[in-house]
């Protein structure tokens, strides 16, 4: 591996990311899957970096999952997205920050479509006005939320309490970075680092002290793939995709996986449980699997946020062994307590993949 070769490519794929004043559009599924991730993003931007971020309450799904599953027509999708832009315009913002990779890809695709086919944009403006009476400006800057964290990765590192480093050996943690397919595979120049060797997460990992693993199935889909999962009969494909990735990364003994997409951490996390039940196999050292995180959760962890405050208790693969490796304190008794100390109940223990640190 010649890192200088990658660096040459990374130089080619850089993009402008707004410095402040973001209109934030959340994902439809992330708050269920990884409930703390978006809250951590907003907190870091507002409280740590002093940025202005508008957390819009009235936006809807972008329809991306329906669009890519062929159940929502493109005209409908574009009109829904036009409404999101109208909300941004009404709130007085110009910089659109999408939490979801599929939304980001879809917004990029729509803006590109309108660029090449202005008559389509005119038609959608008419649809939106007839349906809602709204008008809109197109964003001056469109970024995925991971672009923004990438932009401020060094400032975050400067404020961090911890590094992605083994506290006992001082060695960098081995980190798998997994990029959502819709981040840059459709429009390589819209993603940091391009499509083949994306840098958006690698840049964070480097800045925060970790070491990135480049394993053969690095580019492969996480297993969500929309119809692979949404059509029940196809779920074997979904599971196979994830298994292919785990088998490929396993020899590198990764300490953790970091992702930037709503679906990827869900599937890379939960399918480790499914695979362990099916095959009796757990990946990673011990019987705890390879923990999977969103980049916001990792940013929160190194900033010293309480692991249970940022929602790590809802991960299938437990985070505790990694917390111990880094030296991040946690209270095991609070893992399944709710926000006000209410008892959430202990989940049933899986047969193989332990949800607590296996010592």
């Amino acid at each position: 591996m010649k890192l200088e070769g990658k660096r040459l490519i990374w130089q080619e794929y850089q993009k402008e990311i707004a410095d402040d004043h973001y209109f934030y559009a959340r994902s439809c599924i992330r708050q269920t899957f990884f409930p703390g991730a978006e809250a951590v993003f907003v907190k870091i931007l507002k409280e740590e970096l002093g940025k202005d971020i508008h957390d819009e309450k009235h936006h809807t799904s972008c329809t991306g999952i329906g669009y890519h599953s062929d159940v929502v027509p493109f005209d409908t999708t574009m009109t829904v997205v036009a409404r999101q832009f109208a909300l941004m315009t009404e709130a007085g913002y110009e910089n659109y920050a999408a939490s979801c990779v599929t939304s980001f890809g879809l917004y990029t695709e729509i803006l590109d479509t309108w660029h090449h086919f202005p008559e389509t944009e005119a038609k959608i403006r008419e649809f939106l006005f007839k349906a809602t009476g709204r008008e809109f400006n197109k964003p001056k800057n469109l970024a995925h939320a991971s672009d923004i964290v990438y932009k401020f990765r060094h400032q975050i590192a400067g404020k961090a309490k911890y590094k992605l480093v083994d506290k006992d050996t001082g060695e960098p943690l081995k980190v798998v970075e997994h990029i959502g397919c819709h981040y840059s595979k459709m429009f390589p120049h819209k993603g940091i680092g391009g499509a083949e060797y994306p840098y958006v997460l690698s840049g964070m990992i480097e800045a925060w002290g970790g070491e990135v693993i480049d394993y053969p199935e690095r580019r492969h889909c996480c297993g969500f793939g929309f119809r692979q999962y949404l059509v029940q009969a196809n779920r074997g494909f979904s599971l196979s995709c994830s298994k292919k990735k785990f088998d490929s990364m396993e020899p590198y003994e990764p300490d953790m996986i970091i992702t930037n997409c709503p679906g990827c951490p869900m599937f890379l996390d939960r399918w480790q449980y499914a695979l362990s039940e099916m095959e009796g196999k757990t990946y990673g050292k011990g019987k705890n699997g390879i923990p999977v995180f969103t980049y916001e959760e990792v940013a929160g962890l190194i900033m010293g946020y309480d692991p249970w405050e940022i929602g790590l208790q809802v991960h299938q693969v437990p985070a505790e062994p990694l917390l111990e490796k880094i030296g991040i304190p946690y209270d095991p008794d609070r893992k399944f307590k709710g926000k006000n100390g209410e008892d959430l109940g202990m989940p049933e223990s899986p047969s193989y993949l332990k949800f607590y640190a296996d010592k």
């Binding site: 591996m1 490519i9 053969p216 690095r218």
Partner: protein, 339 residues
């Protein structure tokens, strides 16, 4: 006053054009940006289909070069101007001459394989180009990969940078198919135990004896030809290249590990050719290759009287086609000068 022609580029096309012009009594200045003549063939170990060594081919072309050919080496042409019925050509180092006619013999440049990012050239150590492999043959290096191991499996990827809309090259580079067959055979001769795979989309065996060589590659050397383009390559912990490719004849995806991956890089128009053509006001340079006045009837003429093309600057050509084209160009120039 004998007529004077400036030939730009001293690869096989420029050398052969100059020699033939000189034999017709024309004074020739052959301008070359490098120190020595010979172009890409200098680095080429052996030419298909008969494995003629590149140095032997060049020696034969250079042999008997008439005295009225003057080589202006280490000179990059930076300016051309048409003035009345002659041309003024100038170089970066202050050199300047007038001529009655000009021949573009600027050739081509090899496709930069790093632009096919998914193949990993410049990133994965055991991904090399056909030019790198030829250099290994030429320098007599033993065929080991960058990790010092004899590769047990070697893959050749055809059409790298050719017939590929993604890199804005629609043209076929013509020589890569047969070069891959030639190189695959040479590899098998050096490493008889190795498995060799060629991944192709079409095999264009248009030249004399090409088809025979392709057949020999399969029957005598057991080289596997798989119709399918590589989708991506990656590196495993041992430095092997993990290939993902579809066998489109079987309709099945394949995943293969290779110790060495060779990318058959195609020809691209030389970056400087278009800017020189622009200086002259040549408009027919659609993709960077100079388009002749008529591709069938006037293949060495351009739209400007007195400006001619020879060799691969007007499109990819093999060495033998280049030499024939160069002789034809010399006759076209002589006709223009009414000799």
């Amino acid at each position: 006053m004998p007529k004077h022609v400036i030939v730009i580029g001293a690869g096989p096309a420029g050398l052969e054009t100059s020699a033939n012009l000189a034999k017709l009594g024309i004074a020739v200045t052959l301008v070359e940006k490098e120190e020595s003549t010979g172009g890409h063939v200098k680095q080429w170990h052996a030419l298909f289909p008969a494995l003629l060594p590149g140095t032997e081919a060049l020696d034969a072309i250079r042999k008997g070069m008439p005295e009225n050919v003057r080589v202006q080496n280490k000179t990059t042409v930076t300016g051309i101007e048409a003035v009345n019925n002659y041309f003024t050509v100038s170089g970066h180092n202050g050199w300047q001459e007038k001529a009655d006619a000009i021949v573009f013999a600027t050739g081509f440049q090899l496709f930069d394989a790093r632009r096919k990012e998914e193949y990993g050239y410049g990133i994965y150590e055991n991904v090399i180009t056909s030019a790198d492999l030829e250099e290994m043959f030429a320098t007599g290096k033993s065929l080991v990969n960058r990790h010092g191991n004899k590769p047990e499996r070697i893959g050749f990827v055809h059409c790298v940078g050719s017939r590929d809309e993604k890199v804005n090259n629609l043209h076929c580079s013509k020589v890569c198919c047969i070069t891959a067959v030639k190189q695959a055979i040479e590899v098998k001769q050096m490493l008889p135990e190795a498995e060799v795979f060629c991944f192709y989309m079409d095999l264009r065996m248009f030249g004399r004896h090409y088809e025979e060589l392709y057949k020999e590659a399969q029957e005598k050397y057991n080289i596997q030809f798989i119709r399918g383009r590589l989708s991506e390559s990656a590196e495993d912990q041992d430095g092997n290249i993990v290939l993902k490719v579809e066998d489109t004849l079987l309709g099945k995806p394949l995943r293969i590990k290779a110790g060495l991956l060779v990318l058959m890089v195609g020809m691209e128009p030389l970056a400087g050719t278009k800017s020189l053509a622009d200086k002259l006001g040549l408009t027919k340079v659609p993709d960077g290759f100079i388009q002749p006045a008529d591709e069938v009837l006037q293949s060495n003429f351009t739209e400007l009287p007195g400006v001619f093309v020879a060799g691969a600057c007007s499109g990819p050509k093999s060495v033998s086609d280049t030499l024939a084209d160069a002789r034809s160009a010399a006759l076209a120039v002589a006709g223009f000068l009414k000799l």
